[in-house]
């Protein structure tokens, strides 16, 4: 299991190339680590996003993962398993984070976050490998530019729903429901392995937004 196709992260770089970079990092080349980060950041982030309970947790664990990776990269043996090794770090960090939050927030006031974290930790501990990123990318390529822009503004730029409603001259509920339908479309597309079903898309999404 040393080729890119078998990699749990399905990245553009194959395992041998990753090992070359790792060896460079081990010999003191920090720029090589930057390249490694750029190659593996997105799949790791996607993996974390599937299990984390909040966006900031994703960011925290992502960074913590790569810091830990850098600190212990000297122990990695180049056998074409870097992506597995890195994802293991990410998984353990995320598990620890989720359990900490579940424990801490039960003591505090935010029961909701504790509950979400607790269940997410339980789910992660038993979750099979799941690599949705390439499929999700393919599905996102199939949505209309307007929907893509809406998703970008909402989830990447993190513009509040209230603000989006003002910008789009709609109600907040309309924005929320439209986003919900867009996610439903994407979920259905993911279940079909990245191939959207036109009929379902027409049904599950707001035609005015998704198909315009």
């Amino acid at each position: 299991m040393t080729d890119a196709a078998n990699s749990p992260l399905a990245i553009g770089m194959d395992a041998a190339q990753a090992d070359v970079l790792v060896r460079q990092v081990q010999s003191g080349n920090r720029e090589a680590f930057r390249t490694l980060f750029l190659e593996f950041e997105r799949p790791i982030r996607c993996y974390l996003s599937a299990h984390a309970s909040s966006a900031e947790m994703v960011d925290e664990v992502l960074q913590a993962t790569f810091v830990a990776c850098y600190e212990s990269i000297g122990t990695y043996e180049a056998r074409g398993t870097f992506s597995f090794w890195l994802r293991g770090i990410a998984r353990n960090r995320l598990l620890k984070e989720l359990r900490q939050r579940a424990r801490h927030d039960h003591v505090g006031a935010d029961v909701l976050e504790a509950t979400l974290a607790e269940v997410a930790a339980s789910h992660l501990a038993n979750a099979p490998d799941h690599h949705a990123e390439p499929y999700l990318q393919r599905c996102l390529d199939q949505v209309t530019p307007r929907v893509r822009e809406l998703l970008q503004r909402r989830y990447v730029d993190q513009v509040a729903v209230k603000q989006l409603a003002v910008e789009l001259a709609h109600t907040e509920t309309w924005v929320s429901v439209t986003l919900h339908r867009a996610r439903a479309f994407l979920r259905d597309c993911l279940q079909r392995g990245g191939n959207a079903d036109a009929a379902h898309a027409a049904h599950a999404t707001d035609a005015k937004v998704v198909r315009s």
């Binding site: 920090r30 680590f33 930057r34 980060f37 750029l38 950041e41 997105r42 982030r45 996607c46 996003s49 599937a50 984390a52 309970s53 909040s54 966006a55 900031e56 994703v58 960011d59 925290e60 992502l62 960074q63 913590a64 810091v67 830990a68 850098y70 900490q100 801490h104 003591v107 505090g108 006031a109 935010d110 029961v111 909701l112 976050e113 504790a114 509950t115 979400l116 269940v119 990123e133 999700l136 990318q137 996102l140 970008q152 989830y155 990447v156 993190q158 513009v159 509040a160 729903v161 209230k162 907040e172 509920t173 924005v175 929320s176 429901v177 986003l179 919900h180 996610r183 994407l186 979920r187």
Partner: protein, 675 residues
């Protein structure tokens, strides 16, 4: 829940737009409905995955990561810390001495070795060290523990050799230390335990070795130095040094402290002789009377929660008092200034980590509002994401206390804003630091959510808390918690206290106002009664407004037994002029105030007076609470001198009696050797 309702909930959840009650209700709902929970989690996960796929900030994140790595513990800072630690005044630290001293010491050890080699089968199982013959190069390891004093005189009478004693007496250690400091050639170099081989080749030791042949020798020494502390233990605590007469016990060994001896968690200190001073890295000193026992407890770690920091000054040093995320990518720091440089200091599991300056640099002039959910963007304000969540202690070294009349540049950075209902209150400390110095000392701040969208922004100076932790009597067993913050001080607002407790669950909360009807079990009220003495058995704070009578109020509170003070400054009052002379007087009398035994003196109506004694020193303070002038005669004041000479008081001392005329609200302070 319908899909539409769910969609709204998901988005509000992502916007962090749910109230505390709504979150609690939603939590209860999903706890009962597994399907709802599954749908909600699925929606959230997909939203986050969309964000992950669409985000195009990998380069920026890479920059942040590399900056973190370059400034974190793995690289420069660890080396710097290690060097600083190694350079600290540890008795076990190696010292290089001239080769002549090395030769002399080696000769001594040869004698010891010769004697020991003849009695090797019966020696005590103490530590082995190796010495080599003297060589005039610094790079050759020539190392032994310092032999004890009478070694030279009597090789023929080995029973008298104290080197065989594995547990030298403290007196012997003191004598040895003194001998070393006097320059006697007794200690060529102190070997650390790590530097010594586990087993020296005893069989190879010649009975009469020749120094000139550089033969390796084996010798056995008693444990005359303390164990070298764990580096992590040193990193976990800011330096606390002890100077004076004291015995320090560490890992079963005991030795006399030398000047500037650094304590680490776990050390047990017994002050002896004439007492000792404790100093911290800020130059603050506590005097410890003889027989005082100190322990330095291990540091505690607390889980972190995210909370915003509102910073209104330019250059900020951010210190996470507890908890660590080794990353700098998380909200929330809002900076309200033209430009800011950040240094991030975080602590985790006993290790203090600091990023180098400039690793997080924010140029506000090119920034825009980024925080989701905020209203309209305002130029000059930026939500900065590169900060770890946690409890933050904010310090602003070198910055004078500045209180802008309009509230700008106020104490958000120096000690955290201490405002309620728009009134600015500034906690001040008893220790005698002037307002400006207090800023330099650094403060701690806590921000906690009040569950209604607002934030409690609380500050307290560490010294205040350290001070009120001290028991009122001395000598006594003390738990030294300085310089870690040991308690928070708040008003009797239960909501604020609860928020603080939630944010910092392991720390005591002192209520600085009247106790509410139902006092939480974790809170202690520390209010000084409006009249009468402070209750015994607990630390008591006095909250004193800074006004024209601040001197009289302050000394009045101290006379009545307050162990800590909070000076509150309301509105736009500048406390510095009013407090300047007062803090100077407190500085001069601080050691007696904190460590002396207090006894009230009856001098008539409206006159409050007390005497503080400790071995060899006395402090007498008299306050005239009357509206008119009073002539007083104060007994037992022979040899005491007035602190802060005030000509208007007309003070004269005859024999054991001091006569003074105090104006209304006047204060007389006398201090000196005990009569």
């Amino acid at each position: 829940m319908t899909p539409e309702q769910l969609s709204v909930v998901v988005e509000r959840l992502l916007d962090d737009d749910l109230s505390h009650m709504e979150r609690t209700n939603l939590s209860a709902l999903i706890a009962q409905d597994a399907d709802l929970h599954q749908r909600l989690a699925s929606e959230l996960a997909l939203a986050l995955q969309i964000r992950a796929v669409l985000a195009q900030d990998a380069e920026q994140r890479a920059d942040l990561l590399m900056a973190t790595l370059s400034g974190s513990r793995r690289l420069a800072l660890a080396d710097r810390l290690d060097r600083a630690i190694d350079a600290a005044a540890l008795p076990a630290a190696p010292r290089w001495l001239p080769w002549t001293s090395v030769a002399a010491a080696a000769l001594l050890m040869l004698l010891i070795g010769g004697w020991w080699s003849q009695r090797a089968p019966t020696r005590n199982p103490t530590r082995d060290v190796v010495i080599t013959a003297p060589a005039p190069q610094r790079t050759i390891p020539v190392a032994v523990n310092p032999p004890t004093t009478p070694v030279i005189a009597a090789p023929e009478t080995p029973l008298a050799l104290p080197a065989a004693d594995p547990t030298p007496t403290p007196d012997a250690l003191v004598a040895q230390t003194a001998a070393q400091s006097a320059g006697e050639p007794a200690s060529p170099e102190i070997a650390t335990p790590e530097a010594a081989p586990e087993k020296a080749p005893l069989a190879n030791v010649p009975l009469t070795p020749d120094v000139r042949e550089s033969a390796p020798l084996s010798a056995t020494q008693a444990n005359s130095v303390l164990a070298k502390p764990d580096l992590r233990a040193l990193r976990s605590v800011p330096p606390v040094l002890i100077s004076g007469s004291a015995q320090v016990r560490r890992q079963g060994r005991e030795a006399a402290s030398v000047d500037g001896f650094r304590l680490v968690p776990g050390d047990e200190v017994r002050v002896s002789g004439d007492g000792a001073d404790l100093n911290d890295d800020r130059g603050i000193t506590w005097w410890c009377s003889p027989d005082t026992r100190l322990t330095l407890p291990p540091t505690r770690t607390v889980e972190v929660v995210r909370q915003p920091l509102h910073v209104t000054l330019g250059t900020v040093h951010v210190t996470a008092a507890m908890g660590l995320r080794p990353l700098i990518t998380t909200p929330h720091l809002r900076i309200d200034a033209e430009e800011a440089d950040l240094w991030l200091t975080v602590t985790t599991q006993g290790t203090r980590v600091e990023t180098v300056s400039g690793s997080v640099h924010i140029d506000i002039t090119t920034a825009s509002v980024q925080r989701p959910g905020t209203t309209k963007p305002r130029p000059g304000i930026k939500t900065v994401r590169p900060l770890a969540p946690g409890y933050y202690a904010l310090t602003h070294p070198g910055q004078g206390l500045e209180i802008h009349p309009a509230g700008k540049n106020r104490l958000s950075v120096i000690g955290g804003r201490f405002a309620r209902d728009g009134d600015l209150q500034i906690p001040r400390i008893l220790h005698g630091t002037s307002a400006t110095v207090a800023a330099d000392l650094g403060g701690t701040a806590l921000l906690a959510p009040l569950a209604d969208g607002t934030w409690l922004d609380q500050a307290a100076y560490r010294h205040l808390n350290a001070l009120i932790e001290l028991p009122p009597t001395t000598p006594a067993t003390r738990i030294l918690k300085h310089p870690a913050l040991s308690a928070w001080v708040t008003t009797n607002d239960t909501r604020a206290a609860t928020a603080m407790r939630r944010a910092d669950p392991l720390r005591p909360i002192h209520l600085a106002g009247p106790a509410p009807a139902k006092l939480p079990t974790w809170a202690t009220t520390s209010e000084l009664p409006s009249d009468g003495d402070a209750p015994t058995g607990r630390a008591t704070l006095a909250v004193i407004p800074v006004d024209a009578q601040v001197h009289a109020h302050t000394w009045d509170a101290l006379i009545r037994g307050a162990q800590g003070l909070i000076w509150t400054v309301v509105d736009q009052h500048d406390p510095a002029p009013a407090l300047q002379s007062l803090t100077a007087a407190l500085d001069a009398t601080q050691s007696l105030l904190t460590d002396g035994s207090r006894a009230p003196i009856a001098l008539g109506d409206g006159i409050r007076a007390a005497r503080w004694d400790r071995p060899g020193r006395r402090l007498v303070v008299v306050v005239n609470r009357n509206d008119g002038e009073r002539a007083l005669q104060i007994p037992h004041t022979s040899g005491l001198a007035q602190v802060g000479a005030d000509e208007s008081l007309a003070v004269s001392t005859t024999g054991d009696l001091t006569t003074a005329t105090l104006p209304p609200h006047g204060v007389l302070i006398l201090q000196g050797p005990a009569p």
